[in-house]
């Protein structure tokens, strides 16, 4: 029973702030009326400023976090995946020494395929495994200009799979990397990393940089807290060209790499013994070429044409793949007309996958060719000075289905220094090759599931086979987002967003009723409490152990899960003094999932075992989704700029428990100390994951990748600019 008084109080406060805001604007007008002499007499004391990049973040109607080049350096990141750890709302976990699980707003498991990742405009998402291979996404980190992370559907402008977010890695123009740079680092799990870059200029105002990078890493920790011998190395060279010719801009980006990893995989051999394979060579090589051309016309329009070619050869123990992708896009930006600013674009992508040496993973169709046509249009309308409304839509056609992804968003400038925004979008995740056509076997053990309690005479060891489903539909998302961004004082800013996501047709593992080659029907008796009925259940001829059947459950995928997810991300930036900057971020995430089948009362007799297993499967799937992401996460960063070019940076992280993976809540501390001599030689010493025992960051039951522990590590890095 709240009294009326508080409401009146609140209403009057609201009114008063409006009045104050109005009077502030008249103060601006006065300055323009002052004479030049008077203006030159005004005193303005010196003060620190919040980073410039924050400006563009503050005005966009989306949940954006920009990782600047300074952030990458001061967070001590040694890879692009590691640089993403600090972004609130993202789940970035190191599974083993060369595998990362990276996602935004949940879904950080084998179907972690709802994130679009681009480097200089080229997608690095693999349609074969429906994910990103982070071990080969690398660059001379000091030549990355920034990494833009957009949480939430970014489908329209960015493209396919941008369901939960977009990561845009932007490297510096060759114009900004002139001169030479070399670095050398080594440490506890970073055995050695060497980087070299030379930037120069050709006669006709064409700038270039060539670079080379090589590293060897390893040192993950097994369950007995011993170091693994799973070292891996990758060598890379690249070239970038930039030509600025008045109203025409041309860029060429190229990169080739070769490396060998020992990605630890869990497999079950012929004796059905679990083996963690850590010494099988996984050779990878590839490269890409990206070209872009932009022209500005006299009437204010501009056009951008971009094309790229990407090749990858990956010799994994499970399957060898040769992937080639060609892509061409055009984007036309029409000069603002009245209140409208229209951008439209179209593109075509051709990808080809050739597979060989299929063991553990087999794909029915080979080679696989995919075509993707896309088109989009966006109109940004300045309804008033303060109110901007954007309506857009993307259309994709993959020779079978057409997907439409519309979006509407608005941003409203509450004051000079604060913006409120909101958005509604529909995004779609088209199924990848593995979901439709791949069968994986002898890689996944089903944990003692409720399902196997159904039967009598079943061994503890149960394996799971996943077969693809060529009739899969795309997964859908309807997303509502809102946010508030403000500079509360010169040195204090807040960026907050909240979202509600309604997913439908999400993938789930379901019972498959198609027998596999060499499957044998076994007659199993159900336990008395489930009616004691006997139903056929497909059993791979693996024999028995101690008189019990070893079951191989044959599953397939189907669009059978609905889920509602909601959460928030908040980042506070504060610079208490000239030399000290602090950032605190917090994220909350929650998801409720349920299977899209009718729930039957399990205790009733007369239910067939197939129905029970369907229900239990669904519950299992929903449980996984709900318990796979940590609910809370927080990061606190402190950066201190000391005299004589010393820097001292500290970071503290908290990640809540991940129930499904059996990982407890954990804390971690990183620190970094750095000294620069004469603006050209920099030495830094970094310690990570301190004051905490070796721990698993994530375990994924279905990908077949063996998880290893992450322990505290140290790194010494030398950089030389000349």
């Amino acid at each position: 029973m709240l009294a009326k008084t508080p409401y009146i109080l609140i209403a009057s406060l609201l009114l008063s702030t409006h009045v104050v805001a109005a009077s502030n604007d008249t103060a601006d007008e006065d300055l323009f009326e002052l004479s030049l002499e008077k203006l030159m007499e005004i005193e303005i004391p010196d003060v620190t400023s919040v980073s410039r990049t924050k400006q563009s973040v503050m005005e966009t109607a989306a949940s954006v976090y920009v990782i600047t080049e300074d952030d990458i350096k001061r967070n001590g990141a040694t890879s692009i995946a590691e640089a993403l750890k600090v972004v609130p709302g993202m789940q970035v976990y190191k599974i083993n020494s060369d595998t990362w699980s990276v996602s935004a707003r949940g879904f950080n498991y084998v179907f972690a395929n709802k994130l679009l990742v681009l480097i200089d405009g080229k997608s690095v998402y693999s349609q074969l495994f429906s994910g990103v291979n982070w071990s080969i996404q690398d660059y001379v980190l000091e030549d990355i200009a920034r990494i833009e992370v957009i949480r939430g559907p970014g489908a329209v402008l960015w493209g396919a799979n941008a369901v939960n977010g977009v990561i845009n890695i932007i490297t510096k123009s060759a114009i900004d990397t002139q001169g030479d740079f070399a670095s050398f680092s080594f440490g506890s799990d970073n055995k050695a990393t060497v980087q070299y870059r030379h930037g120069g200029k050709f006669e006709n105002d064409t700038f270039y940089r060539i670079y080379a990078k090589g590293f060897e890493r390893g040192g993950s920790i097994d369950e007995n807290n011993n170091f693994n011998v799973d070292n891996w190395y990758i060598n890379r060279v690249g070239l970038r060209l930039d030509r600025d010719a008045g109203n025409r801009k041309f860029t060429l980006n190229s990169n080739v790499f070769q490396g060998r990893t020992h990605t630890p995989i869990t497999i079950y051999n012929d004796d059905l013994k679990q083996m963690d394979v850590t010494d099988k060579n996984r050779d990878m090589q590839g490269g890409y070429l990206i070209g872009s051309y932009k022209e500005y016309f006299q009437n204010g329009n501009n056009v951008l044409v971009k094309a790229y070619l990407d090749y990858l050869n990956d010799d994994d123990l499970r399957v060898n793949q040769e992937a080639t992708t060609a892509d061409i896009e055009i984007q036309y930006d029409i000069a603002p007309y009245g209140k409208h600013h229209v951008i439209w674009g179209a593109g075509y992508q051709l990808s080809n996958y050739k597979l060989a040496n299929m063991a553990y993973i087999t794909v029915k169709q080979n080679p696989i060719v995919r075509h993707l046509f896309s088109a989009y249009v966006q109109d940004s309308i300045d309804i008033t000075d303060k109110f901007n409304f954007i309506v857009s839509s993307r259309l994709e056609y993959n020779t079978k289905d057409i997907e439409i992804q519309p979006n509407a968003r608005f941003s409203y400038k509450l004051t000079d220094n604060s913006t409120f925004w909101g958005s509604v979008s529909r995004a779609v995740k088209v199924q990848g090759i593995s979901e439709k056509y791949a069968t994986s076997r002898d890689m996944i053990q089903i944990s003692k599931d409720k399902m196997y309690d159904l039967f009598k005479g079943v061994d503890e060891l149960s394996l799971m086979v996943v077969t693809g489903n060529p009739d899969l539909k795309s997964e859908k998302l309807l997303s509502f987002e809102t946010g508030y961004k403000a500079f509360l004082t010169e040195n204090f800013s807040i960026v907050a967003s909240a979202f509600f996501n309604r997913y439908s047709d999400l993938l789930a593992y379901v019972n498959s009723n198609e027998p596999l080659h060499q499957s044998e029907l076994a007659n199993l008796e159900t336990k008395q409490e489930y009616g004691g009925k006997i139903q056929p259940f497909y059993l791979y001829h693996r024999g028995q152990r101690n008189g019990n059947y070893i079951i191989e459950a044959i599953t397939t995928l189907d669009n059978k899960i609905k889920a509602d997810a909601f959460g928030t991300e908040i980042t506070l930036d504060w610079a208490p003094t000239d030399i000290w900057k602090l950032q605190l971020s917090y994220s909350y995430f929650n998801i409720n999932a349920k299977g899209n089948i009718k729930l039957v009362d399990k205790d009733k007799l007369g239910i067939t075992t197939t129905e029970i297993s369907d229900i239990l499967f669904m519950e299992g799937n929903s449980d996984i989704l709900e318990a796979i992401s940590a609910k809370h996460a927080a990061t606190l960063m402190s950066r201190l700029q000391l005299p004589k070019d010393w820097e001292l940076d500290v970071q503290a992280r908290y990640i809540d428990k991940i129930k499904n993976a059996g990982i407890d809540a954990r804390y971690a501390f990183d620190f970094r100390i750095s000294k620069t001599f004469a603006d050209s030689l920099n030495i830094e010493f970094i310690g990570k994951d301190l004051f905490t025992a070796s721990h698993y960051e994530f375990k994924d039951e279905f990908s077949g990748l063996a998880p290893y522990k992450v322990g505290c590590s140290w790194l010494l890095n030398l950089r030389y600019y000349y």
Binding site: M1, L2, P6, I10, L13, L14, S16, T17, H18, V20, A21, N24, A27, D28, L31, F32, L34, S35, L36, E37, L39, M40, E41, I42, E43, I44, P45, D46, V47, S49, R52, Q55, S56, E59, I175, D176, D205, D244, G246, N247, R248, K249, K294, Y296, Q298, G300, N302, L414, T415, D416, N417, S418, A486, F487, L488, T489, E490, I494
Partner: protein
């Protein structure tokens, strides 16, 4: 009974957020926090006054001032000059990117901090054209820019590169030259 407790809690939480929102909003509205923004406001006002004392050959009705590059405090303040009349000429302030044909579209350009590596290239583009180049990047005038704004102690001063100004046929009022430096 249960539902009214839930309703009360929801109302309380809502009021708490509303209050928080108001506090944050009042902060943002009432504080004139920008020693950095204040600096940008003063610089923008100075640019406005300086332009009054400059004459372009053949320019009688409107002046187009291009802000090069992305968001900035100075840019945001300059946008407020849009549509003002300066000695009979209407000012039009617009953002342009580095690669647009500024030598044809602009009567004045404002180059911001982040384009510091591109200053030479930009000045070369507009060479000899009657375009007023303005910036607060240090040594801008030395590099060939016409109007440089700089901070001396706690006050803002400006520099005019008269040689370049003469080459471009821009006419500066003698009062302006006296106030410079």
């Amino acid at each position: 009974m249960k539902t009214s407790i839930i309703k009360q809690t929801i109302l309380k939480v809502f009021c708490m957020f509303l209050l928080l929102f108001i506090i944050i909003k009042s902060f943002a509205a009432s504080t004139n926090f920008a020693p950095k923004i204040q600096e940008a406001k003063v610089k923008a006002a100075m640019i406005y006054q300086i332009i009054k004392m400059i004459n372009w050959p053949d320019k009688k009705t409107n002046l187009s001032i291009c802000i090069i590059g992305e968001e900035s405090y100075l840019g945001n303040e300059l946008l407020k000059m849009n549509r003002k009349i300066s000695e009979g000429r209407q000012l039009s302030i617009i953002r342009r990117s580095l690669d647009s044909p500024i030598e044809r579209l602009c009567d004045a350009i404002v180059i911001q901090d982040e384009s510091i590596n591109h200053v030479k290239a930009i000045l070369k583009k507009i060479n000899y054209n009657p375009i007023l180049s303005i910036s607060d990047i240090s040594d801008f005038a030395k590099q060939g820019g016409i109007l440089e704004l700089y901070k001396k102690g706690d006050q803002i001063k400006f520099l005019i590169n008269e040689d370049i100004a003469k080459q471009t046929n821009l006419h500066m009022d003698s009062k302006l030259i006296k106030l410079a430096k």
